[in-house]
Amino acid sequence: MPAVLEIEGLRKTYTSRRRGTRNALDGFDMRVDAGQVHGFLGPNGSGKTTTLRTLLGLIRPDGGRMALLGHDVPGALPSVAGQVGAIVESPQFFPHFSARDTLSLLAGAGEVPATRVDEVLELVGLRDRAGERVKTYSLGMKQRLAVASALLKNPKLLILDEPANGLDPGGIREMRTLMRTLAESGMTVVLSSHILGEIQLICDSVTIISLGRRVAFGPVDEVLAQHSSGAVRVRLEAVSDLPVATDALTRAGIRVTGHPDHLMLAGVDKPATVTRLLAENNLYVSELAPVAVDLESVFLELTATAPVPGQHRQVDESMKVGGTGQPGATGGGWGA
């Protein structure tokens, strides 16, 4: 499948006389194949928006290579911009124009037929409110307008930064359906979001970024499988047998975490070995359930951003590829 978006070794450094140097992007790589819905994930300040802005020519990179629809950018951006629809960060529009005026002006600037304006207004559910000024819109309505502006060109590649931000539950579901419909029609969608449940539901593949570097990528199933810990939950007929079972399993090299009424096992390749081992010790299992890993836990593990009781994690405190993996251990903020 051809790549519609390729990034190799992208670097962006911000230098401040007062605060020193910060590597917003530190050799970042990314690839999105045609026709996919691709999730682009990362904690706050990890470089997601910087990547998208750089890709779209708003920020000048300090190194690396980028290509959109097979053309190197930013050099070829003027020729491919008509095929790339994007919203970057929060939706921003001139507040005194109506949604219809806003889209009409964008359509005029991009030489898009005026009829397309009504089509996208219908698509995002703003048809009946299109004549009202944008300043009267809620965040969710502005978000819909932003998506409409990105869809106006009928692009081959749609880049949406936090499109579900501010949407009501119905709106989130509509957005999910829209993304799938667009992908089925052949459009490639890159979706940056912190609603990981949504990403897991609608994305074919993901890239996870932390501190300006890619920490995971590939089809969602593969990423989940790669980071599955082989966790298994075990309950026994008698709760009093749990300590004996813990001993037996630990001796067999399985990592065991005890709980009042069950055990959590880690590093189990085949759950059948657990039943056999326990049966050999006359311990009988009442429940043996592999614990499925979800994208959120993989994300928190990879970016080392899981909340720790009693600690207040700061922005930029997350995992560095090849580093210690401890929150705060690598800094990464100004002056890092």
């Binding site: 779209l56 003027p78 529009f93 001139f94 124009f97 964008l106 600037a109």
Partner: protein, 338 residues
């Protein structure tokens, strides 16, 4: 071309553009109406009455000087003339010549097109330049501060093309207001002169001179509009342009003027921008240094003078325009957009 047309549409759709243009035109209309009602057409009866009043004034002056001369001689005879009230030679107290008291002084104000229209082009250009400045600054400043510019650049990633197209649309819009306004200004004052003054002695040379002054006024409006646009683009906010101008006028002009006066510098007005704007419109301004004295054959004391010409002003305006617009273009090309 589509971008240019779109930007023209955007400019026309903005309420600020509409309101400011309307306000500027209303002020111009108020000036014309004000001049109309404060002037009168002079007829022969009024002229004769003014002549009589001038005669009357002359007679009063003659009577008063004779009384004063008599009082002077009396004081001299009484030996009380040393208090400085009267000159040593009482014959020096004389009435002014008749022709020094002009009948015009006793006429109501009248609008002479040939003599006065030139002066009206200065407020015309100043008001429209002010409108152009704030509309230009707001046109680009609001785009930057509301994120509209970023949206546009996602559609048209050629930054300089976008900025220059916006500027072209802005100048077209300002010109579309200025040129008809100029025609109406000429027509309005012609009507004022016709009904409340005089349109006599209008030669082709006089028309040509007015047309050239009007042209310089239009150029001034366009230059000031461009500077407002460029300053707001440089600071990415309308307030940058407005704040910059306030800072320039308060610190750079009033402050500099006070400092130069305290230092007793010569021709302090030569350091002030309004002097060059006035010179641009009037073709030449002659500054005088009243601290100097050049004696003439007749014993008069003439001050030193310094001429500021419209050519010198054009150099200053051009350099200012190139530097500020150049900086805005450079910043547009080089700076990250976030």
């Amino acid at each position: 071309m589509s971008l240019y047309r779109t930007e023209l549409r955007r400019l026309a759709k903005r309420r600020f553009t509409r309101y400011m243009s309307l306000l500027g035109l209303l002020v111009l209309a108020a000036v014309v109406v004000g001049v109309f009602f404060t002037n009168q057409k002079i007829d022969a009866g009024q002229l004769a009455r003014a002549e009589r009043q001038a005669d009357q004034q002359y007679q009063e002056q003659v009577r008063w000087s004779e009384q004063e001369r008599a009082a002077c001689e009396q004081a001299k005879a009484a030996g009380t003339s040393s208090d400085g009230r009267y000159p040593d030679d009482c014959s020096l107290i004389t009435a002014p010549a008749r022709d020094q008291i002009q009948a015009e002084w006793f006429l109501p104000s009248t609008f002479n097109f040939r003599q006065t229209f030139d002066e009206t082009l200065i407020p015309f250009a100043a008001i429209l330049a002010l409108v152009g400045f704030v509309v230009g600054a707001s046109f680009i400043g609001a785009e930057w501060s509301t994120g509209g510019m970023m949206n546009l650049l996602l559609w048209r990633p050629k930054r300089l093309t976008v900025l220059l197209t916006k500027l072209a649309a802005l100048l077209t819009g300002i010109l579309a207001v200025t040129l008809p306004a100029a025609v109406l200004w000429f027509a309005g004052f012609w009507a004022v002169a016709a009904f409340r003054g005089s349109t006599e002695k209008m030669t082709s040379g006089a028309w040509q001179s007015f047309a050239l002054t009007g042209l310089r006024g239009v150029v001034l409006v366009l230059v000031v509009t461009t500077i407002g646009f460029a300053l707001a683009s440089l600071g990415r906010h309308t307030a940058m342009a407005l704040g910059g101008v306030v800072a320039l006028m308060v610190v750079g002009q009033f402050g500099l003027g006070i400092l130069l006066s305290m230092a007793s510098a010569r021709f302090t007005e030569a350091w002030l921008l309004p002097t060059y704007v006035a010179a641009w419109m009037q073709k030449k301004i002659t500054l005088q240094d009243w601290n100097s004295c050049n004696a003439t054959y007749y014993g008069e004391c003439k001050p030193d003078t310094l001429d500021i010409t419209w050519q010198q002003s054009s150099v200053l305006l051009s350099v200012g325009l190139v530097v500020i617009l150049g900086a805005a273009l450079w910043a547009m090309r080089r700076r990250d957009i976030s």
